[in-house]
Every structure is written in structure tokens, then in C-alpha cells.
Point group: C2
């Protein structure tokens, strides 16, 4: 979606006085820095910025990294992403390569810049086959603009002539098709409001050695600046985060624009922003804790399921061949379990954590679960999602590994509980089930005013057979291989992998749920 | 769906001992007889026969009527229909015309017969360009068979030779592709079991002048016959109803195969059997009381919505140009209101009949409604539908005509009830609404074990604008025209038509519903 549309939608819809915000990041210098940035970004994106942007790096020096970060932002973090693009050192072929790459990645927003002169040069010189200015670039791609500090004099003020020129030039860029205008970073609101930056450094001098004090001053200053901006009637704040989380979130908290307890979810999983999967609103539950793996596997599907799962039941899931990335997902960023990519257990899991602990002790090794929900208000932070005024539902679900013996006993006991349906499969594909392979079961759904029923999470036996390959592989690749070949832990883990069943168990009676009762005599 | 598939599905699925039944009808001689037959058929079809068939009439004499009845059975009554087709007086062009007609009408079942000789002839003679026997016809269309009574001698028994020949001939028809075999009407089970009819008339002699006694004897005899048939292991009963309702239903009731209180509904409206709309499972609520009008309007849609309504929101509704049929729908068969094609109020309406009466007295002239339902068991006869073990839901709904003044007051009062959404429109198309034109609202849905959410009824503002033309037209065409031109009733009705609004009102809070509270101060 185009940033301008999101801004218009947010500021127009219902609450016309709403102020929206966005975050800007730059490409870190090290691989570890990149992973840290993404962890930070996940937390910041939870507050629903209108968009985030990533800078291009001086002279195109970070071109490939910027493209890769933009791709991950749009597709895996699932935030609307705007990529910066400058003319510096960029012949038109390189510009087109960048534009084609992001187009393929489902990104629709570019911040078009002339860029600084290449390192060591004073003045920007148009390269052979390149562009002379952002206007050229806007005309080439009909995109965005910023005011460039070159017209600012050494006293921090622009000449009246430069000011007039700059405004006229801005008008031409808009005339050429620019939708959104982003100012350069600034500290002086009055000058911003007059369209000219100024300086603030003096106030920092006395506290410059006290990092905490500098940060607190920054947050305080930022808050005051934003208040002044908002008081002037401007409803769109774009924060240059300098890749830092706390100051940006601190300012927005002070302004009352975000609140930790009010993080809302449009769907139980983060809605895709990629142009090609905008309509996607149904997913199998199996990848609930591995959304990035799911997105990666299903990239390139011609149609993403929406409304119901049926249409996509024959879609092929790509094999997860990039094992290095796979390992990183399993072991690098992830702190809870090799089967989860998430930072922590989902909040709703707390509702059933004692039952889960109990059945784990009995030899049912759980890797995924959700509690039953019978018409909870959609605003509830724990299980709620979707627009206000609705009701959400879940069928109780638990997914686990267990031995063949345990499975047999469970199948026997479950006959006394007709509302339970299960699908179980071992590594070799032996299937034990009391439902049909095409019986797609909606396990999370929501009912909202003037809307059709939304059913974002399903148990689909066909998808389960794809998921089991990934789930079983984690025993060896994600875990056993951490031990040396003759280590007894490794032997044990491999035996589990070869003999256990992966079991998906649903209690279809979400009103009088007894999912865990079937385990009570184990 | 092919009858053989339905039989196999019914007798195989789960309850392997289940006996299924079907009804046979013949084309009545008068137009009134046809309408009576359809009323009877509606009630009989409510008991879910596997299929119904309609005979071809001696010598093709009823060909066009049989084709029309078959079309209405399949498409408007929505019962799986088998049409008889004989070779008598039928050159191949006529046979192909009949086959093409039913194919277009979404009918997949033909009972292929040789037929009796033409009236006045003793022996069947193959006509120029026609077929000699059912085998030819089966080979021509790969369809069905019956044992023909011509091989039966005057004592009611077949010769051993004829018996052997007939069995061999039957085998050839099956080899040629016949799926289902229907015996000729018979009264002697032992002979049926030996594949030869016998007589029963003697037993009727003493009671032949007492119609009630004859009927009671018939039901008793039929019941005993069926018991004997079922005891022999046969699971498929085909009843030649002779277009009579009570005997056929009486026998099935005695056998425990049907029960008035156990009529179940796969969906809130009768599921289509037409081949082309098998997947249809979502409809706008507006035609809830006029299903035949809805089916007629939407015949020929390329895709019928399933899963959700969104996909079909742009489908065009044909104009209802056949006014004679329209009038018949409105005034002929229908006893409740010009806006309903149904025999009586739907059972669930009893839940809210007092409230409805009350608001009608206040000037809100209701034509459609449903009570709120919050997770009722799917087996409940009043509001239940779909497979057992599920839960069904409804948002409270009411649709009515009212004056512009009443509408304005209602709009004002509804501000105190944020869960209410409405769309109102007058004859000229002036729209008053608090939802968007594309806000499709699911107002009936069901949650079932191992299934996606089913949402068969929606309020779709776009469809509402189509429906309003039909609804307003009924004021004049269905009502005002009953009076002479200068009658004051006619003037009043036409004024109502020209000035009132048609209003669709939903209470989106089906858990704490207060749809009628908003009317309390009128």
C-alpha cells in the first residue's frame, strides 16, 4: 500500500484528529547489528507505525544491504516499508535494478533523493548515465522528495533566495508526481514551520557526558517539539530513530500516541504488507510460532487464501532449503524453543501454562497451543484482535510430540470425548486421524459489526503433512547437531525423531471445552 | 449429483445400516394440479428423500410439461431430480432436445425406458430415427433401466424363460452403463424378491368403498412390504407416490425413517441441487422469504458464492421480468404476505412474534426478520441447521417499510445503540446508512467440528439496492392492482410505495441483543 494512502486513511477515517507516526532506520555496519536492529524493529512495529523507512547509505555504499533490509522489513517484519534511493553514483541501470528488486518484493514506496556528493567531492556531479537531481528521479519513478541542507548557510539559516528557490523546486517535484514529502532531520520547530532548520547544541553542552541525561533531554525536547508541531495542525510525525528504540517510543508515549497495554492486533498474526499478499487472512496454525518460516515457504504463491482456506489447499509449499537461515531462525534470535521464532510465549499461553506443564511431564512434548475462547471482546489485550466492538473465538488446540504407545492410549481415551479431533503423523508419514484429509477446521475466528466472519487460523491436515517435515527436521538440525556424534543426548534426540508422532489435537467444543481432561489419567 | 453417488454416500457414510428412500411423481393434467403437486412436494422434500423422479407420460404426451416440472423440482424445490425418458414416439432429435434441456437445467439423472407402445398399438415398434429399446437409450446416454411388465403372463407370473431372459437383459443394460435400477411398481414382496410381480386385489374387495380404510390398509400393507424388503438387506426404497402425500409419508413414519420433529436443515435455506450451483452456500438475507425469486434472478451466474459473499458482490442480478410468474409467487401459492413465497412464517419467527407485532402497530411494516441466536446447538429444530455437534449464531435482523419521518426518528434514536447498523432506501434510491456500501455483514453463521465457519446469510448493501426494486414493486403489482383504479385503498398503497423507505436493520451484538429496544419510545 502506498504510504500516502495509509496516511490519508488513518487521518481521515472516523477519528479525523488522529496523529500518525513513522520510524526511520539506517543500515547497521555489522551482521550482528542487523539482527539487533530487527529485534528492535519487531518491538517498535508492534505499536503500529504508519510506515518505516530505511536509508540508502552515502554514495550507494549500502545498496545491497538496504535492499535486503527493505525486503525483510516489508515481508517478514510486515511493516509498510519505504526505501530511500539516491542518485549518487547510480547509473540508471543500477537505479532500475533497485526499483525492480523492491517491486518484486512487494514494496511500493521509494523516497527519491539526490543524495550527497560522493565521498571526497564538494559538489554533486551528475555521473555518466545517471540523474542530476531528485526531480529527475521523481520524474523517472514518480516518487518522493526531501529538502536538502545544501541551501543552508553556515549560520544555520537559508538565504531568502534559497528559501524561495527551494519552495519553488519542491512545487516542481510535487508537480512531477511526488506524493509524500519528508523533511530532513531537524531540531528547531519554528524554523521547521518556516521550512528552515536551526541549531540546538548549546543546551546539550552541560550534560554531554551523562548519557542518561542526554537521552532524557532528547526525549523531553522531542516531546515538546512534537507537541508544537501537532498544535500547528500537522498530523504526521516521522521519527529519525537513529536505530534507537527507547527515545522514539518514549516520545510517542509522552504524546499519548502509543501505550504498551493498547497494542492492538488486526489479526492474531501480523498482517502482511507485501503488495502480493495484502488479501491474505487465513493461515494454518502449525506455523503460528514460526511466521517467518511460513512466509518464506509460501513466497511466490500465486494467490493467498482469503475468507477461507479451501481455495489454497492445493498450493505447494516451497521446501525450506536455506538451512543457514533456518538455523539462524532456530538458534539465533530465538529464546524459547527450537520450534518457535518468537521472542517469548504468546500472552494467551499464560491462560493454560499449568496444564501444558502437566502434560509435558507426562511425555506429551508440546510445541504449539491455544486456549479456548468463547466470545471474548475483541479489545482484550490477551486474546483479542480485529476491530473494536467484535467478539473473538478459539477452539482449544495443542500440538505435541509423543511416543507411539502414548498416541495409542490417547486415541483410545479420546473416544469418550466426541468433540476432540486429531491428526497424528510420524517422521515416515504414517497417519493416525479421526478426520478426513480435506477437513479444514477453523480454530480462530472473529465476528465484527457489519463484517463477514473472519477466520484467520485453521487446522488443515494437508498442510500438517508439510509442516511435519519441518517440525521433525528441527529435532536433528536444530537440536541434536548441537552435540557431538557420539554424545548420548544426540542419540536420544535422534531416536525421538525417528519413533515419535507429531500430534495435532483440537477440541471442537469451545463452549464447554475439555481438551486437557483426556490427559488426566496418564 | 448422480443418484447413485447420493445412494452410495448415504448408505456408506458412518451409519452403514441406513435405509434411504425416494419419491416418484407424475405430471398432473391441469395447471392447478401442477401447483398442488408442488405444494405437496415442498412438504415431502422437507423429509430429505435421496431423490425424486417425474414420469415422462405415455407416448411422450407430457414431454414439455415433464421437462418444466423437472426443471422446477431441481432448481426451485431443490431436490435431486431424476427425469424419466422413453423411446416411444421419440426420434433421436427429440431425445437430444430433452437431454440438452435438462443438462442446461443442471439435472444429471435420467431413467431410461423403452416405454409402452403408442396408444392404440399392441406392440412397440421402433419409429423412424428412434430407438428400439432402453438398451439403445442407455447406450445413447449411458443411463438407467426398469424391468418391463410385458414379460409377465396373465397369471401375474413370468415364464421361467422370460425371467431368465430378463435377468440377462438387465445385465446387458448394466454393462452398457446403467448406474441405478428402479423396479416397476409392485405389491408382492416375495415376487419382487424373485424379480416377478403378483396380485393383491382380493384383500381390498371387502373395504373398497371405504376410502379411509383403503388408505389405512395401503399404509399398513406398504409398511409390511418395506419391512420385509429392508429385512432382506435392501437399503433403497423408491415410493411411487401417485402424487399423494399422506400414504407415502405414513409408511416412512411407520418405518421410523422420517419424523416430523427431526426435519433437519443442511443450511438455513434449502441447499441447491442444480449441478451449476452445488457450491453455493452464501446468500443475501433479503430474499429469505422469496427463495424462488432469488434462484430465478441469479440463474446463469457464472460462479455462485461460497465461503463468503465478497467474491460475488459484483455479480449482476437478472431483472425479474416474468411478471405472470411473479404474480403467482406473490398471490397464488402464498398465504402469509405478498413479500413471502413461504407457506407460513419460519418457525424461529415465533421467538420474536410479539415484538414484531408491536413495532408493526407503530408504523414499521415488517417483511423479514430473524431473532438473535448466541451459540445454539445445531440440532435444535427451531434455529438449528448443519451437521450435529455444532453451534449456530444469528444477529438479530428486521426489515421493514416506514415513513421518512419514522426513519429520521429511528436514525436519531439509534445513536444510543452503537451495535445497530442500518441501510435504508426509498423507491427513488435515496440512501440513508451508517455502513459502507461494501460492508458485507454475516448475519447467520455456524461453527462445526473439523469445519471452516459457514456463513450462509449476509446483509450486503449492494444487493439490498437490487432487492429494493423488487420489494417496492410488490406494493403496486402484488397488492395495489388488486383494487380498482379509483379505490382509496389503491391510492393509499401507491402513496406508501412512493414515499416510504425500505429499511434493513441489524443488531451486531448477538450476545447482548437489543434490536427492539430502539423502538420502545415510538
Amino acid at each position: 500500500m502506498k504510504v500516502i494512502e495509509k496516511i490519508l486513511e488513518s487521518t481521515a477515517a472516523g477519528d479525523a484528529g488522529k496523529t500518525v507516526f513513522s520510524f526511520e532506520f539506517f543500515p547497521p555496519k555489522t551482521e550482528e547489528g542487523v539482527e539487533n536492529l530487527f529485534e528492535r524493529m519487531e518491538r517498535m512495529v508492534a505499536h503500529n507505525p504508519t510506515f518505516c523507512d530505511i536509508t540508502w547509505g552515502a554514495g550507494g555504499s549500502t545498496a545491497e544491504l538496504t535492499l535486503e533490509i527493505a525486503r525483510r522489513m516489508q515481508n517478514l517484519v510486515c511493516v509498510e516499508t519505504m526505501m530511500h534511493l539516491t542518485c549518487t553514483n547510480m547509473p540508471v541501470e543500477k537505479i532500475d535494478h533497485a526499483l525492480e528488486t523492491i517491486k518484486k518484493d512487494g514494496i511500493q514506496n521509494v523516497l527519491a533523493l539526490r543524495g550527497d556528493p560522493p565521498r571526497g567531492q564538494d559538489k554533486f556531479v551528475q555521473i555518466q548515465g545517471g540523474f542530476a537531481c531528485a526531480l529527475d528521479l521523481v520524474e523517472h519513478i514518480r516518487k518522493s522528495y526531501e529538502a536538502h541542507p545544501e541551501v543552508i548557510e553556515s549560520n544555520g539559516l537559508a538565504t531568502p533566495e534559497a528559501y524561495a528557490n527551494d519552495l519553488a523546486y519542491l512545487k516542481r517535484k510535487v508537480d512531477a508526481g511526488a506524493d509524500v514529502i519528508v523533511t530532513q532531520l531537524f531540531y528547531d520547530v519554528d524554523n521547521f514551520l518556516k521550512f528552515i532548520p536551526s541549531e540546538i547544541t548549546a543546551a546539550l553542552e552541560p550534560i554531554k557526558d551523562n548519557e542518561e541525561a542526554v537521552r532524557a533531554y532528547g526525549v523531553q525536547l522531542g516531546t515538546e517539539m512534537c507537541k508544537k508541531i501537532m498544535a500547528s495542525g500537522i498530523k504526521t510525525l516521522h521519527l529519525y530513530t537513529l536505530n534507537m528504540e527507547k527515545s522514539a517510543l518514549g516520545i510517542l508515549t509522552n504524546l499519548g500516541l502509543i501505550e504498551e497495554s493498547k497494542i492492538s492486533r488486526p489479526l492474531p498474526w501480523r498482517r502482511p504488507t507485501n503488495l502480493f499478499r495484502l488479501k491474505e487472512d487465513v493461515r494454518p496454525i502449525f506455523w503460528a510460532n514460526r511466521p517467518k518460516s511460513y512466509i518464506t515457504r509460501t513466497t511466490g504463491w500465486e494467490q493467498y487464501p482469503h475468507g477461507r482456506w479451501g481455495n489454497a489447499s492445493n498450493a505447494s509449499y516451497g521446501a525450506l532449503t536455506d538451512h543457514q537461515k533456518f538455523m539462524k531462525y532456530c538458534l539465533g534470535q530465538l529464546k524459547t524453543s527450537p520450534w518457535s521464532e518468537l521472542d517469548a510465549l504468546q500472552p494467551e499461553t499464560k491462560i493454560i501454562d499449568e496444564q501444558l506443564a502437566s502434560i509435558n511431564l507426562k511425555g506429551f512434548l508440546t510445541i504449539n497451543s491455544q486456549p479456548p475462547v468463547n466470545g471474548a471482546k475483541s479489545e482484550l489485550p490477551s486474546v483479542g484482535w480485529g476491530p473494536a466492538g467484535g467478539y473473538v473465538y478459539q477452539k482449544a488446540y495443542v500440538e505435541f510430540f509423543c511416543s507411539g504407545d502414548k498416541l495409542n492410549a490417547l486415541v483410545e481415551k479420546s473416544k469418550a470425548y466426541p468433540s476432540l479431533t486429531y491428526v497424528a503423523v510420524n517422521k515416515d508419514g504414517n497417519l493416525v486421524s479421526n478426520v478426513g484429509i480435506n477437513d479444514v477446521n477453523a480454530v480462530t475466528w472473529g465476528v465484527f459489526p457489519a463484517k463477514e466472519i473472519i477466520q484467520p487460523t485453521v487446522v488443515d491436515p494437508s498442510s500438517f503433512l508439510i509442516w511435519k517435515d519441518e517440525a521433525f527436521e528441527i529435532w536433528s538440525r536444530g537440536w541434536a547437531q548441537l552435540y557431538s556424534e557420539d554424545d548420548s543426548s544426540r542419540t536420544l534426540l535422534q531416536e525421538v525423531q525417528n519413533t515419535y508422532y507429531l500430534v495435532s489435537l483440537v477440541d471442537n467444543d469451545y463452549i464447554n471445552s475439555n481438551l486437557f481432561t483426556v490427559f488426566k489419567d496418564f
